[in-house]
Symmetry: C3
């Protein structure tokens, strides 16, 4: 992929070489992401940060990335303060915002919304989450974290746990991982299984994966355990939710007994699905993921803006 | 008008010379508005961007203008997060915000609200829309667009279509146009006619205008067609709204048959009142208006802050 | 107190020397707060401004302070757009935001919330109001204002009027004042008296104070009258509220008759508790307080970031 001027809309755009290019650039960005240095490489560049769906973490990650590289930011949060609430199409929104900004980041509740905005905008658009569809910059952050923590991605067993049906981060992550020599295990309740179109796509590429309800078994075999939140709203009956919720809580005891070297990741926010006493295990990487996300977003912003970090 | 230190509250403040001064400065600002260059003329100046009423486009236009000229921005969006919701007067708000900022831009739902804020604030205040009253910077944007697209404003026939009663942009535009040698046609349903006080003021100045319900006729004669959105909320009966809505939809066929050279403008957001296939006609200027709006706001910000672009 | 790297969570942290250090630094910051000069001492420093509870004035005060000293800002306003609404703990929020920012300012509706955030964040956290508990930077602003207006704090009689039970500014102010040789008078309705734990703490330190319902008497004796807003929501019966509200309205006549030299302060927003014709009395310092608050916040931000103004 030619990154300069590109829209970053889906994990599916990336081949293995593209992923590796991003990870290499992110590694160079770490000195800025870790707050050791400040750059001015994006001076005189303006990011429009449009978060029509609530998010503090991802939005601040992009805005911080832009600012720490010397760039500027304008933003809009929520739909009620926007032209969209008056009935404007995303295509028109794109045509307007491109007049202001050099690059646009958008989160919106509807699938493929970033694509529609990008059709209107001549400047690069980065998808920061479109409903339960995709979240490609989070997937790149996850791969970067695995590489940083374990040295490489090839040869690993990666288990993903929780809401695999609506969890956009695991969708994007599965696509990205499929370019590497990995085995995936999808751990979820029956009603929240990985969508069929993703499983089919993995099969076509001969990627090894299995599905299970049993977190304990997956935990024992995996090198990486990727936890996600299970949302109450996804269940018709509260009772069913309570049952499921309690089966997917990761405790310190489980890790120490079954797999002390396990790398534990989570896209955050974490609620109860990882017990707090897991946090100071060496393998608990989920807060380190945050700084890695900053580095990955710094890498993407500079690349689509045609700069070299 | 002495622009340095001035409040920009109403189109009525501007005489022809004032308008021409703004348009000349806006023309020089276009190189920055078009993203070709970045300036630092407003370095060490801070804009407080107070949008108590929803708006993405206008707010980001002002903030982008400030930032691309090297200035800084603090902002507040919505009333629920403000002291106004606790009962503070706008006069007091002005007295507080002037301590922080070098210039204030405000949108608020009540008529003459910018004026009240300006009474409290020693720094320049720019009205970005006060209820259905005025929106002077949009009117200047519209005049600048006409001039950029057609070379001059004098001698033109300008038709305004849609909700002329509550549409603050057409109110401010009518005042501004009255300084030029133009003929205006006001096209609206009976219930949404241009307010009497505006018509009276035009008559006093011997400005030629007529009122009609028939968009087709206006379309044929006009050099400029200024479309606006008709809002459902303005009608008591949904049926009446549906009838009116459908009479004021501009299609590609209408333009190609009746007036292919027509300049088509719209303050945006556009909903259904301009069909999407109009967008790539040469006369469709509404997205070019956006960049022009940036230039006009750059001009006003520098002028009230006493700088020369 | 060693300020570099410190969290500013409570007025109780400050001894007299600490307060004096802040006031001295604030005096040097006044040239920047008064908009005469612009500094770049906080260049390459990023403030995360997290206002989960509504506030325009305090938030813009911190953000303006940061920007006018050359620093940068990312912010988040309201809870509905944050991970907290998804159930994240403040501890986790702290662990995330510290990856982005060099200093964090937070307002939140719950007592001791800033403390919990600070436990997660390795960077300095400044409490900008935690429920009805504390608001230490406002108290420092108040002391700075008294010093600027009257030359010194020692030897003064300070009356606080209004909602002393839920008013976090008067809580923090009482603690701070207790290090000085002052006499305090607490004027409030029976149901909104100063909390017992604060009175007890003052007694232990042998600070002279008295409690009364009579604003008139307090007014006559005081050097400083600190007014606060009485909120309707604090009363069970509207009738009771109306009675109380009217007993605590400060008028120009009262001041001119009883104590023309009185210094009048208010944390703002002011609703009806100070009549508008008081505003142009020489002693009416509440709008000057705003610029002083900017200077105090400039002082604190530079100090916790290890810089010297």
């Amino acid at each position: 992929m030619e990154f300069k001027g590109a829209d970053i809309l889906s994990a599916k755009q990336f081949n293995r070489g593209d992923v590796e290019t991003v990870l290499k650039t992110a590694a160079r960005a770490l000195q800025y992401a870790s707050k050791k240095k400040w750059s001015d490489i994006l001076k005189n560049k303006l990011l429009a940060s449009l978060f029509f769906e609530p998010s503090t973490r991802t939005r601040l990650s992009f805005e911080t990335a832009m600012i720490r590289l010397g760039g500027s930011v304008v933003n809009s949060v929520g739909t009620q303060t926007s032209s969209l609430s008056k009935g404007e199409t995303l295509l028109d929104t794109g045509r307007v915002i491109e007049k202001y900004a050099d690059v646009i980041v958008m989160r919106y509740s509807q699938e493929n919304s970033a694509e529609e905005l990008a059709r209107g905008a001549a400047v690069p658009v980065i998808n920061a989450g479109d409903g339960s569809n995709e979240h490609p910059t989070q997937a790149l952050t996850d791969l970067f974290t695995i590489q940083q923590e374990l040295g490489s991605i090839d040869g690993l067993k990666v288990a993903m746990v929780g809401d695999l049906k609506y969890g956009r981060t695991v969708h994007s992550l599965s696509y990205m991982l499929s370019h590497f020599d990995v085995e995936m295990t999808f751990v979820s309740p029956e009603t929240l299984k990985m969508p069929e179109h993703i499983c089919r796509s993995l099969k076509e590429k001969n990627v090894k994966f299995k599905e299970t309800f049993d977190m304990g078994e997956a935990l024992r075999e995996a090198n990486v355990l990727y936890m996600t939140r299970i949302q109450k709203e996804r269940f018709e009956k509260e009772k069913e939710y309570e049952k499921v919720k309690n089966s997917y809580i990761l405790t310190r005891e489980m890790i120490e007994q079954k797999n002390p070297k396990l790398l534990i990741m989570h896209p955050l926010p974490r609620i109860a699905e990882i017990a707090q006493d897991v946090d100071d295990l060496q393998g608990a990487a989920y807060f380190r993921q945050v700084a890695n996300g900053l580095a990955v977003r710094m890498a993407l912003l500079t690349m689509v803006l045609g700069k070299t970090l």
